[in-house]
Symmetry: C3
Subunit: 334 residues, 3 copies
């Protein structure tokens, strides 16, 4: 896969080699994100950070990643005031806005919209989420986190065992992550959800056709030797009614007691965030915050590294970043 | 006209010499916008990009223009949360906000508001549109585009023939553009609109008093030897009802077939954008996208150059920009 | 008080020595804000400017202060689209967002929210206002202004006389400012408000316990030898109804005539802004704009200096700022 000048629209673009390339570059970004040094390789470059659907954390993560490489960010949030609302086509919007920056990160509520936009764009477009369709940088940061966490235990993705829990039907992240995992060897999937919220058969087919083992179950039962427990949230907005969403509340609850009962002491806990921490949510309890295997905040930190890597690769500066190293002059908390 | 430290509020400020000065500077900005090189002449300068009325493309265009000169952008979007909504005067807002940047670009829904704001401002203010009143940078980018397009055909603005089509009553852009064209010699205007949406008599008077020729007609008829066809959109928001707006829909439709019938093969097609591309819009059809004379996206690209020129001129750096040239280290799509 | 790596959450953190330290650093920022020179000491640093409650002037002031030190700004405005609205805890939000910048300035509508957020943050957090609770940078800029204005008359804070007028019950700024003034010596307070809107007894106790003199009165009467007249606005949003707020309208009006009648020719007029300039507001009349003692716009200018100082101190660059001095190449209005 040639990244330079390319759009990043879907996890389907990636083969194993491409993923490992991204992850190698992401790893080289760590000293910059940790503020051991900084770089101005993209000094003067402009990111168009177009969030036609608002999302604070993903938007800021993209912007920060670009700033960490030395670039500037021009931003737009929301759809209601945009020309798109006045009937402008995605093609026109892309033709115009791609004249205002060097690269674009874009989120939009409609499935397929980012790819349609990319056709009109004269510069690389990175998909920051297009409705129920794709969110490739989330899948990549999830997989990067899995690799890092497993490496810390002396393991790697080949041969790993992942338990996915919760709403596996609507969860865009578990679909994309499963596709990426299928590019590796001998992965075991334990898919835990009620029948109504089961993993779609297309994903199951992909898992099966790539020769991986999987178990489908409705309950979290017995003792699982999973390396990763990937918990999802109830996507309330995808259910016909709040009542229907509520009936699944708490069925996939994870707290320290449930973790101890069903998982190993080394099992890493992941979640796409945000987690609902209201008392009635029963999703991923705060008592897990003290558990060193709770990797949810390492996930978001890793998101910055992965996005830096994608910017560096698509703008063709991945091999020269360190030629522009600078010192950090301010105090950094250790 | 002395630009240094001045406000840019209205096309009425400009004489022919001033326009040509702006256009010469704008032309020098092209290598920066095309990323053949970059400049940091405004490194450390701050633009206050105050869009009290949202407008994605104009806002981002101003911000990008400032970034391309090396400066930073602080931004505000919308009116509802601002102090203006709590009864603060434009004078107070200007006194306060002009302490936060080196120059201001401002859009506001009320006619006259930007000029009123400028009276309280301690730094230059560039009008980014004040309701139905003025949008001088749009007029300048339109005229700059006309000059560039005509030069490509070996012609120039003196002696040109422009057809303006559509809602000439409410279209702020055609009013301002007409005023600027009147500063040149022997321009011919063909003004095509239904009587109800005709060009205001004040603009007609200006055209007549400056000795230019014009034709007023209700229909696009026969063969026009126009150099420029400037198509406008129905400003739905200015009509008493949607029904009233709808009765004019399609009356000024331009597609490849109509273009071929009424215009020359060299006639340049312009439009202030956004264009409505919904099936029922019948405004400027997508089949024109393949027509090399469709200049609408060159217009928005030129907008960045013109805004860069105005920033450079008002901040007095127009003659030293290239002293701060830097290399572009990232991949640029050709 | 050790500023490096610390949160700035409340005026209660400050003793007299700390305040004087902040003010000394703020004073050194003046040449940068006046554009006599610039600095890039924070080149590459990122401010997370998180305004979960919108506030144009405070938000832009923080962003500008960071830009003036050479840093970049990532921003968020409003609460409705944030993860907080989906039930994410302030702790989670802080853990995530503190991975995206080097320092955070935050405003939030709920009292105590910024301190709660700070507990989860891995980087310094500066309180930009948490509902009715605290807005420490406003109190510091008010006090800095008082010091500067008094020094211009050959006086200082010790021994000064301040008249506070208006809604002293709901005015967060007068509470915080009073606390800070109590750290100095022999301050005289004249507190003018109707009984229903009187200064809370907790603040009165603080004034009394620190040995300062105060007078409480319902009317602006006679001649006051106040050095400072601090006028407040009716906080309409804190009253049960608009009617209740309206009954106090005009009771604390200040215009040139009232000023001349009750104050000395040297009395400095301050106000936390925005002031309501609508005809019916009767708050702080525009005829005072010509009065050289009207310091309200010097207050907002000083806000930039104080925020620059707090950024420099918490990031530990206060002593090296001038090592990174650069020339200003653009025209600056004198």
């Amino acid at each position: 896969m040639n990244f330079k000048g390319s759009h990043i629209l879907s996890v389907n673009q990636f083969d194993r080699e491409a993923i490992e390339h991204v992850f190698n570059v992401a790893h080289q970004m760590l000293p910059y994100a940790k503020r051991q040094k900084r770089t101005n390789v993209l000094d003067g470059a402009i990111l168009g950070n177009l969030f036609f659907e608002p999302s604070t954390r993903t938007r800021v993560s993209f912007g920060t990643a670009f700033n960490l490489l030395g670039g500037e960010v021009r931003e737009t949030t929301g759809l209601s005031n945009s020309a798109l609302a006045k009937g402008e086509s995605l093609y026109d919007t892309a033709r115009v806005l791609s004249g205002y920056s060097d690269i674009i990160a874009m989120r939009h509520p409609d499935a397929g919209s980012v790819a349609e936009f990319a056709e009109g764009s004269r510069i690389p477009v990175i998909n920051g989420g297009d409705g129920a369709n794709e969110h490739p940088t989330q899948a990549l940061l999830d997989l990067y986190t899995i690799q890092k966490e497993l490496q810390a235990h002396g393991n790697n993705i080949d041969g790993m065992h992942i338990a996915m829990i919760g709403d596996l039907k609507h969860g865009r992240t578990v679909h994309s992550l499963s596709k990426l995992l299928c590019l590796f060897k001998n992965v075991r999937f334990t898919l835990i959800s009620p029948n109504e919220l089961a993993m779609p058969s297309s994903i199951i087919d992909t898992i099966q056709n790539s020769g991986h083992k999987f178990t489908i179950t409705e309950q979290l039962e017995g003792s699982l030797d999973a390396d990763i427990c990937y918990q999802t949230r109830i996507q309330e907005e995808r259910f016909p009614s709040q009542e229907e969403a509520n009936q699944y509340r708490g069925k996939f609850r994870l707290n320290q007691q449930i973790y101890t009962k069903h998982f190993q002491s080394k099992t890493v806990i992941m979640h796409p965030l945000p987690r609902d921490s209201r008392a009635e949510a029963n999703e991923l309890d705060n008592d897990l915050n003290l558990n060193p295997n709770l990797a949810i905040f390492r996930q978001t930190d890793n998101g910055v590294l992965v996005r830096m890597a994608l910017f560096a690769l698509t703008l063709g500066v991945d091999t020269i970043v360190s030629q522009f190293d600078q010192k950090v002059h301010w105090h950094v908390n250790s």
